[in-house]
């Protein structure tokens, strides 16, 4: 047995819907027309949310904002696969996950305008506030999944993160714990090819993100992240497996960040226009629209009315967010601890003695 092969592995890639809008029927989940329309509606709503956020930011009405343009299918497709009882741990680029989960749109704008109250998640909605530090929330998803298992509840947890996040120790520890405890958790990596200015190839020398799961003894799969059906199916399968006791899954949604990293970024400094251009044809909404058109689920008219309806929701959300009264100064102290500390009480008095 001197030189002996002791393990062998494969990594798969899943795509259902191609760029022409043709679906592989052997893999296609059974969606009702309404479900597909719902998907499309959410993709469009998300896109408009994003566009409006960018323009509001340009007018100084929002703070720094992270656009998810191009990643709508990865977010909507996966988010729709969850049960309401599942727990979602998002990062900062997941507005479409929040939207798909039914998060109040005005609160999202409120958050991005620099107001913590926007992340006061409504009771009963199982999603965490945005995690600003990259990768670190992955461990929380694993922990929640471990807790679900301990409590013998059939819920799963999921963390969303980017390709850059896979480099950090928390990713490693989170996936390793998940493997060891066989926790019902799904790791959803939106590999959008960039981490600010760092291209995917310089982030890690592994050829796929999916294969990183091998290090933890469970499966990783790459999906076409601009194919809403494939993302949905991969997530659904992973969630079912998790809840059946099959353990964690790493899903790499292979997609692209069409915009700048955030509104504070200028991506022309580090990437070429042709690359961005080449992804336009792969647009996830375009692709679903083509499929729907082919299958009589969408026409020019319905397209327009869906967009209009979404636009109206966004209008309302913006005015809702902008009509919220500013936070009380006390807000700053109220949530540090369960109840105010002696010191905080003194400091609050100091502050309310007058400005500054």
């Amino acid at each position: 047995m001197p030189e002996q092969v002791i393990e062998s592995f494969e990594v798969e890639r899943l795509r259902i819907l191609n760029e022409k809008g043709e679906a592989d029927s052997s893999l296609m989940p059974s969606f009702s027309p309404d479900e597909i329309k719902k998907m499309y509606g959410l993709l469009v709503l998300s896109r408009i949310f994003d566009e409006r956020a960018l323009s509001l930011q340009g007018e100084g009405r929002l703070g720094t904002y992270a656009s998810f343009r191009g990643q709508e299918a990865s977010q909507v497709g996966s988010a729709l696969a969850f049960d309401p009882s599942d727990w979602i741990f998002p990062s900062y680029r997941e507005s479409a996950v929040f939207i798909s989960r039914g998060y109040p749109l005005d609160r999202l704008y409120q958050f991005w305008s620099g107001d913590e109250r926007g992340m006061r998640v409504p009771d009963g909605l199982n999603i965490l506030p945005i995690s600003i530090p990259v990768s670190t929330h992955i461990l929380h998803a694993t922990g929640a999944a471990m807790a679900a298992k301990i409590k013998k509840e059939k819920t799963a947890a999921a963390a969303y993160f980017g390709d850059g996040a896979t480099s950090k120790g928390d990713f490693h520890e989170g996936l390793n714990f998940a493997g060891v405890y066989n926790a019902p958790v799904v790791f959803i990596c939106q590999n959008n090819q960039w981490a600010i200015s760092l291209p995917r190839e310089r982030q890690t020398a592994s050829r796929t993100i999916a294969q990183k799961a091998l290090a933890y003894g469970f499966a990783g799969i790459q999906v076409d992240g601009n194919d809403v059906f494939a993302v949905y199916k991969a997530t659904k399968d992973a969630l079912e497996k998790a809840k059946e006791g099959g353990g964690p899954t790493l899903i790499e949604c292979y997609t692209y960040r069409m915009g700048h990293h955030t509104t504070a970024d200028d991506s022309t400094r580090y990437r070429i226009a042709e690359e961005v251009e080449s992804w336009k044809e792969k647009d996830p909404i375009l692709r679903l629209a083509r499929y729907m058109e082919k299958n009589g689920l969408l026409n020019e008219e319905s397209k327009k009315s869906i967009a209009e309806e979404a636009g109206k929701k966004i209008d309302e959300a913006v005015s809702g967010a902008e009509s919220m009264p500013p936070p009380d100064l006390e807000e700053m102290f109220t949530y540090t601890y369960h109840s105010l500390s002696h010191r905080e009480r003194k400091e609050m008095r100091e502050i309310s003695d007058g400005p500054g």
């Binding site: 727990w87 741990f89 913590e116 109250r117 992340m119 006061r120 998640v121 009771d123 965490l128 506030p129 995690s131 530090p133 670190t136 929330h137 992955i138 461990l139 929380h140 998803a141 694993t142 922990g143 929640a144 999944a145 471990m146 807790a147 679900a148 298992k149 301990i150 409590k151 947890a157 120790g169 928390d170 520890e173 989170g174 390793n176 714990f177 060891v180 405890y181 807000e331 109220t334 949530y335 540090t336 601890y337 369960h338 500390s341 002696h342 010191r343 905080e344």
Partner: protein, 320 residues
């Protein structure tokens, strides 16, 4: 009431609270079959099983980070960090997440984890096994820091920590784990957090101390009419008890094992100077570890404040 040491007291408290509240779970390196390297979790694995007493992989951020996730899901996780010197890689999880979950979600989520860790020197251990960097955690809003100084306070404070709404860093003075035996109340026994304890009343000088240093402080002060305060909760700390004592004695010494610069002693001294200076008859003085990396066993006795050094300071402040 039985005479027990601190390890036994902590162990019993964990067992009792786990009995009482099915949401309490314990996780950390070697906390299961091995019962923890200091045996604080001894027997819990056998009693409560591997789901509630989890031997984790070797990863401190992982331990605290998964504990945070568990807390969000509704459990009450007690994470053990094997030695305080290894908590640094979990600081990010504590500072960036545990401390902020409540404020980040404007109260929707809370993160009531307890992070237990042995701290302090005096057990002739190698590098990073003798840290006492409690001040780091006291600087971070949203975290509470609690330190018992003996078997009884260990029970009272751990019980409260386990029922807290906020994340608690719970520091256990390694040197005292087996040194002191005392009577510990049986059954429910909770000491309120953020309240200090007057160990001994006195008129001439107030000595504020905690955890590993308390027992030495008491000894050092035997000959004097000193009021000794066991701070117990380091953050947020009990200013009221301190001020009351300062008003009485007019002299204050703070004793801690941590390096002097930016130790908690500095904050206490600054607070007293700010708010009670008119009562002071001498400058607030500190007896602390030095501003060096905690030395190896051969030199650690020279690093750690001990009775002679404390007594000298008491003499100095009384002469002032």
């Amino acid at each position: 009431m039985a005479q027990v040491n601190m390890v036994q007291s902590l162990n019993q408290t964990l067992a009792e609270e786990m009995e009482r509240d099915p949401n309490v779970v314990v996780l950390g390196e070697d906390v299961g079959k091995n019962g923890g390297v200091f045996r604080v979790t001894n027997g819990l694995y056998e009693k409560f099983g591997p789901e509630r007493v989890m031997d984790t992989p070797l990863a401190e951020a992982g331990i605290v980070g998964t504990a945070i996730g568990m807390a969000l899901y509704g459990l009450k996780p007690v994470a053990e960090i094997q030695f305080m010197g290894f908590i640094y890689s979990a600081i990010d999880q504590i500072f960036s997440h545990a401390a902020r979950m409540r404020t980040r979600s404007r109260g929707r989520y809370r993160c009531p984890i307890v992070v237990r860790t042995p701290y302090g020197g005096g057990i002739k251990a190698i590098e990073l096994h003798s840290e006492s960097t409690e001040a780091l955690f006291c600087h971070m809003p949203g975290v509470k820091v609690v330190v018992p100084s003996g078997p009884a306070t260990a029970k009272g404070l751990l019980t409260s920590a386990l029922r807290e709404e906020d994340p608690v860093v719970f520091l256990e003075p390694t040197r005292l784990y087996r040194m002191i035996r005392e009577e510990v109340p049986e059954g429910e026994y909770a000491l309120p957090l953020a309240k200090a304890r007057i160990v001994k009343e006195g008129k001439d000088v107030t000595i504020i101390s905690w955890g590993s240093m308390l027992q030495r402080t008491v000894k050092a002060a035997e000959q004097y009419d000193a009021e000794i305060i066991d701070l117990m909760t380091l953050s947020p700390f009990d200013e009221e008890t301190i001020f009351a004592s300062v008003k009485k004695t007019g002299r204050v010494i703070i004793v801690h094992e941590a390096a002097r610069t930016c130790g908690l002693g500095a904050e206490i001294a600054a607070t007293i100077a700010e708010e009670a200076i008119l009562y002071l008859r001498a400058p607030v003085m500190r007896v602390t570890g030095y501003d060096v990396v905690m030395p190896f066993p051969k030199l650690e006795d020279y690093y750690l404040p001990e009775e002679t050094r404390m007594a000298k300071k008491i003499e100095e402040i009384l002469r002032y």
